[in-house]
Symmetry: C2
Subunit: 252 residues, 2 copies
């Protein structure tokens, strides 16, 4: 294997898999995304080449940017060195991992997939929200809020007792909430928002469908819609990584 | 914190989180389930008490069995020692973690949740199946096949391009497939089955909705229904953990 598609999890390096930490320590090249936590990158061996494709890609033409990333992976992979392609969360849960896998395989390069904790499930868990709960939530739907129609369809199609987790929904939260209210969903439907989850800046915001559009939320955030959202717990400082605590103490 | 609700992931110990391995190494008591891979339990420190509640619980009355497990956790937690409650996959994805969390909190015991990789997402990834793919699968639904009605509802409600992952669906696979065919789903709809995933006995079975009832499948298995299921890759022996390889070699 020369290229590893590795999930970096939600942020805290302790939530990486053992396999991911080992691969980061022995990679020659690490190709990383904007969403990967800087603390995770500290696990890369000194001397390894770290390529941040999140910044280089630009936002004007996502398809062209993705093609450039795939081409870079093929280029590094063809050299026969150990390449780790690091993606926030899980490479196959809205990570466009399939496109990179296909590009690498087409070029005859061996690829191994190392799944990671997706923010869609791990951040609710860390905040005390079980996405399934006996008698309360019998299924979970993960969708993106990038496209308003798709997000509205996913929420409305889901059984009433399902938990719906929306990723990349901050910009469209008002439009999505308005459409769900128009479709007859109760204004009091609980919504839990976890902003900058598993980082030292994590904020947990309990809200409702009616209040969602006006709530102050910044990207990246995970939105949880459904009965379990009411279980959101206040943020517990113990979950902040020790190194971050020290940094804050030094500043203060 | 005295009790940690920890996800043990899909089986391979390299797919545990770093935090889970550290907690297993320093736990005084580990309370484990039937579904946890024996290789994961080898990470428990010598001298720690390992309680297997999967075997003791019995199948006659699940609610009573669950109440007994919660009572045991409270008992150990109240002693002030470090207790790890280990669950296959993720504690909050069909793991009944919420019930144990509530029982412990009600007893005044501090609890921390350590999410794990759920088989529902990690096993497809390891088998080359992206649960989301641009232009192919725009959302993912995770449901249980334990209840035929619920599983059928989850599949039929999902948008046509969604990926539906069913856990605990082996026994009811024929009934679920028949109901979906009756509802007009195409007999050729691809279904990917991953049996005993992330273990040395892993089997990957590509099938269709029409063939699912007759396919030979044993529990535990994950069923993937949707367009991405056609991407299931043949099993790659490289994914078997080295320790298992050695054991097999010694026997042969």
């Amino acid at each position: 294997v020369t290229v590893y598609l590795v999930g970096a999890g939600p942020g805290d390096p302790d939530l990486l898999t053992v396999r991911a930490t080992r691969l980061l320590a022995r990679a020659d090249v690490v190709v990383t995304d904007r969403l990967v936590d800087p603390r995770v990158l500290r696990l890369v061996a000194p001397g390894a080449l770290v390529v941040d494709v999140g910044k280089r890609a630009g936002a004007t033409d996502p398809a062209a940017a993705q093609a450039r990333i795939s081409a870079q992976l093929v280029e590094h992979g063809a050299r026969g060195v150990t390449v780790v392609r690091l993606k926030g969360g899980d490479p196959f849960v809205f990570g466009r991992g399939a496109e990179e896998l296909d590009a690498l395989r087409s070029a005859g390069i061996d690829v191994e997939i190392v799944p990671g904790l997706t923010s869609a499930l791990a951040l609710p868990a860390l905040a005390g929200v079980p996405v399934t709960e006996r008698g309360v939530a019998s299924s979970v739907v993960v969708a993106t809020g990038h496209d308003v129609d798709g997000a509205v369809r996913a929420v409305l199609a889901a059984p009433r007792d399902a938990t719906v987790v929306l990723l990349m929904a901050v910009a469209n939260r008002g439009a999505i909430a308005a459409r769900l209210l128009d479709a007859g969903r109760a204004p009091s439907t609980p919504v839990a928002v976890i902003e900058r989850g598993a980082s030292s800046q994590e904020r947990r915001i309990p809200t409702t469908l009616e209040q969602l559009g006006d709530a102050e939320i910044e990207s990246p955030a995970v939105l949880i819609v459904g009965p379990v959202a009411a279980r959101l717990e206040a943020h517990d400082q113990k979950e902040v990584a020790p190194s971050q605590d020290r940094a804050v103490a030094t500043v203060a």
